[in-house]
């Protein structure tokens, strides 16, 4: 038989309520024990923090990132161990989709089904009841359950309608720090903090680990304590160890007072205690009482026993199993019976001797060695698994703005998606939409805001995150996390994104605080910060890019030019693998020479596009010719629009300059085809390329741009460049031919082929390497030569 192999869901270690407590600790112990019993255990982790915690908890533990690839690489005999089955708050990704797709067998770790058994108390909200029903349905799809007690197994089988013969009782175990000690001085020293809240080291103590929940029966315990003879109580304190909320403490205080007992003297409630304080409380106690009305496994009973403490407990649920002898139990619903057994446990020498023996036996029974062996035996017992080949159709997510976004990258992403899914590729591409600062909805597509909650990175084989330097990428940027996948930097700076988010907020204080945090994350020293944090040009002048955290998290980086690659290299010499991917042009029909002299600048308009320079050039041209139109095709902020309107009015160019606002695809095509010349200017260009330029070229429309060449800063110089294209048909045709040739060099078909090769490489990419898309798609050179 092949060695048992188990993938354990390690995310439970950081679950908000279970991580540092019972369920998290149980999972760590179970992994350690199964490894010790010979199982090949791999812990799947979703973050560096979880990975560190697992490695700190178990020496030599094997961890793997929770990815679709990791899961699909497993043979069908592998088990997936579900550790978040019944947690509250309810975990949404209990069994990753990839586990189901890969057909792996699933075993769930069951701690209790108490909420199902007492819905009036624990499932009060309708939503909670519905979620519990769903969770039960999910559990019924599991192959096996591992249970901590026979009681849990029996009740789970009944309430979840799960076959009892597929639930294996593996028990629970006591951590090694729970051990006896006779060193009274040391014990008292470790309890010094509790003396301050009322613990009296001169009196014998009876310890109870309970809780605020009625099921823990703390009021019943207090009442039974009050029933003891006063002289016996005078020599003893009842110490209730548990964390409580003020309302519960107030209620208990009232009960204590009503019964004539002293609060924090006869009865001491500790609130949260450390592990060491808990052990010390047991070690020096005369007796431990566990009065609960129901427990999946009463671990404190076993822990008290292991600490050398005499233990008595309720005679219900799993507790008789844990203590292992009915003579050490009482009826938790009968205060007089509880009082009687507590009294015997303190005064009856014979009974006290018996309790020592019972505790010794109990503590020897609940070991991790036993849990590990039982779990391995249970999973080995089931040798049935499907060997049918499961299809593993790879999925790649393209994240960013799409059609409807003011960002030009939105339309560009839409074209990538169309090109990818129109040909047979090695993976399906799914769009994940960034709706930042738009009024659109995701429709039937996924919204990036749901990433990590309603769908996850490990639902995909690869994530391609597209970023530009505007606020329309804020949600994509926020979703990157520490495993960012492939990051496509259409501009090698995020200044516009961060500053744009600030302006978008309309809250200067908030925006500045956020920018300070981001500058610190990027490691920019305060002396380099611009005086006005919301001034994008100030950041550019200081060579601030905000890229450092993104490059640290990126699997690879995609840029548009060698210049942009140089920026990345200058920030991080040991940079992630870089792909230089030129902007692709769509396969459009060639435009004919239009009637009229229309100049078009298209895309989201901001200061970096130098609109005033372009208006200045038109003003110069207006001295030479009369029938010119300058069209800014795309949206812009109301503030900029108001300022540009004033500039236009001051120059008396109202009939010459037009702002269209945002255009749909049809309107945009119509506007582009009216262009005699396209103009795309960019201030502080640092290696980015323009999709608008590619769009003009794809139609053979002449373009004047300074994005790839020396920056144009003078309106008259720009006017001189525009003049021949507007006045000479021969010059226009020559420029159109040149534009058309350039527009055929790298098409979207080439782009998706290069992207496919890059995202799913035959060999891993090396850090510090730079690859050019043309090398991945040799045939793209043919387009240029054919033209």
């Amino acid at each position: 038989m092949a060695n048992l192999r188990v993938l354990v869901d390690g995310r439970v270690i950081s679950h908000p309520t279970a991580g540092g407590r019972g369920v998290g600790r149980y999972t760590i112990g179970l992994v350690r024990a199964m490894r010790a019993s010979g199982a090949d255990v791999v812990v799947l982790v979703d973050s560096t923090q979880d990975d560190h915690e697992w490695r700190a908890a178990i020496d030599g533990v094997v961890t793997e990132p929770l990815t679709r690839n990791t899961i699909h690489a497993e043979p069908p005999s592998t088990w997936f161990m579900c550790t978040q089955m019944m947690l509250h708050p309810i975990a949404l990704d209990v069994v990753p989709l990839a586990v189901t797709e890969a057909g792996l067998r699933v075993v769930g770790v069951l701690h209790d089904v108490i909420p199902y058994r007492h819905p009036d108390r624990y499932l009060v909200e309708d939503a909670a009841r519905v979620q519990a029903r769903l969770r039960a349905g999910l559990v019924r799809t599991f192959d096996r359950l591992l249970s901590n007690s026979t009681f849990s197994a029996d009740t789970a089988s009944a309430v979840l309608d799960f076959p009892r013969d597929r639930i294996h009782v593996v028990g629970a175990a006591i951590e090694p720090q729970f051990e006896p000690s006779n060193d009274a001085k040391s014990i008292d020293g470790r309890l010094a903090r509790l003396v301050d809240i009322g613990l009296d080291l001169a009196r014998e103590r009876v310890v109870a680990v309970t809780g605020g929940d009625d099921r823990k029966n703390t009021p019943g315990l207090i009442r039974s304590w009050a029933g003891l003879p006063p002289e016996l109580r005078a020599n003893h304190q009842l110490v209730i160890a548990c964390a409580t909320v003020p309302a519960v403490r107030d209620r208990w205080h009232h009960i204590v007072h009503h019964l004539g007992l002293g609060w924090q003297s006869d009865v001491v409630v500790t609130d949260t205690v450390t592990d060491d304080e808990m052990v010390a409380l047991y070690q020096g106690a005369a007796l431990s009482v566990f009065p609960s009305l129901e427990e999946g496994f009463g671990l404190p009973v076993a822990e008290a026993a292991a600490s050398g403490c005499r233990v008595i407990c309720s005679d219900n649920s799993s507790l008789p199993e844990v203590i292992g002898d009915e003579r050490a139990t009482f009826d938790a619903n009968d205060v007089a019976d509880m009082t009687s057994v507590i009294r015997s446990g303190l005064e009856d020498a014979t009974f006290r001797e018996l309790l020592v023996e019972i505790a010794r036996n109990a503590s020897s029974r609940w070991t991790w060695d036993r849990v590990g062996r039982s779990a391995v035996e249970a999973l080995n017992e089931d040798s049935t698994f499907s060997t049918a080949q499961r299809s593993h159709r790879r999925r790649v997510a393209l994240v960013g703005p799409f059609a409807g976004s003011p960002s030009g990258i939105g339309a560009y992403n839409e074209r990538i998606l169309e090109a990818w899914n129109s040909t047979s590729r090695s993976a399906e591409m799914e769009p994940i939409i960034d709706l930042t600062a738009t009024s659109g909805t995701a429709g039937s597509r996924r919204n990036v805001a749901g990433l990590g909650r309603y769908f996850r990175k490990h639902d995909f084989d690869a994530m391609v995150n597209t970023l530009g330097s505007s606020e329309f990428h804020a949600a994509t940027l926020a979703s990157l996390g520490e495993r960012a996948g492939h990051v496509w930097l259409h501009e090698p700076t995020l200044v516009g994104c961060h500053v744009g988010i600030g302006h978008l907020s309309g809250q200067r204080d908030w925006a500045e605080t956020r920018l300070r945090d981001e500058l610190r994350r990027a490691g920019v020293s305060e002396s380099a910060w611009p005086a006005d944090l919301l001034d994008a040009d100030g950041h550019h002048r200081a060579n601030i890019t905000f890229l450092e955290p993104v490059l640290a998290a990126a699997e690879t980086v995609i840029v548009s030019s060698d210049d942009a690659a140089d920026v990345v290299k200058s920030i991080e010499p040991n940079h992630p693998p870089i792909l230089v991917m030129p902007l692709a042009a769509p396969r459009n029909e060639r435009a004919t020479m239009p009637v009229g002299r229309t100049i078009v600048s298209y895309g989201w308009l901001d200061e970096s596009k130098k609109p005033e320079l372009l208006i200045g050039a038109v003003a110069t041209l207006s001295g030479w010719m009369r029938d010119i139109r300058l069209v800014f095709a795309g949206g812009c902020s109301p503030e900029l629009r108001a300022r540009l309107d004033a500039v236009v009015a001051a120059r008396h160019l109202e009939e010459w300059v037009h702002f269209t606002g945002w255009l749909d695809a049809h309107q945009l095509t119509h506007t582009l085809l009216s262009a005699r010349v396209g103009v795309q200017l960019r201030r502080n260009a640092r290696g980015q390329r323009s999709a608008a330029v590619a769009e003009f070229r794809s139609r053979g429309i002449p373009v004047i741009t300074d994005i790839e060449t020396e920056e144009i800063t003078d309106a008259d110089v720009l006017a001189e460049e525009l003049r021949p294209l507007l006045t000479s048909d021969q010059d226009w045709r020559r420029a159109s031919d040149e534009s058309w040739r350039a527009g055929r060099e790298f098409l979207f078909d080439d782009l998706v082929e290069a992207l496919d090769s890059w995202v799913f490489p035959s060999r891993p990419h090396a850090r510090g390497s730079v690859t050019h898309a043309h090398d991945l798609v040799p045939r793209s050179h043919e387009h240029a030569s054919l033209s």
Partner: protein, 97 residues
């Protein structure tokens, strides 16, 4: 479904009962989704008719119900996968090791 029908003619007894139970389970889950969506629709509409602070509470309800829908989908995905496995098993018994 013609393929499934054809497969079902070849299996009998326990396997048929198991398949029926699985399908019933799926139907139950779909019913849950249907209930949640209808209730959500009602609540959001009636919430929107009232004041904004109230609507914030409904927004939280929307989030909770979206969570529930996600849970339901996960359950359905697994049940369908099991159904497929059962059909696989019924059609080619030799494929089980």
């Amino acid at each position: 479904m013609r393929v499934v029908k054809a497969l079902l003619t070849r299996i009998t007894g326990r396997d048929v009962r198991a398949l029926r139970a699985e399908v019933a389970e799926i139907r139950n889950q779909v019913q849950v989704i249907n209930d949640v969506v209808q209730s959500l629709n009602h609540d959001v509409r009636s919430g929107a008719d009232r004041s904004l602070p109230l609507f914030l509470g409904y927004a939280e309800r929307v989030r909770l119900d979206a969570d529930t829908a996600v849970g339901a989908v996960q359950s359905i995905e697994r049940q369908i996968a099991r159904l497929e496995a059962l059909i696989d098993e019924a059609s080619t018994p030799a494929k089980r090791s």
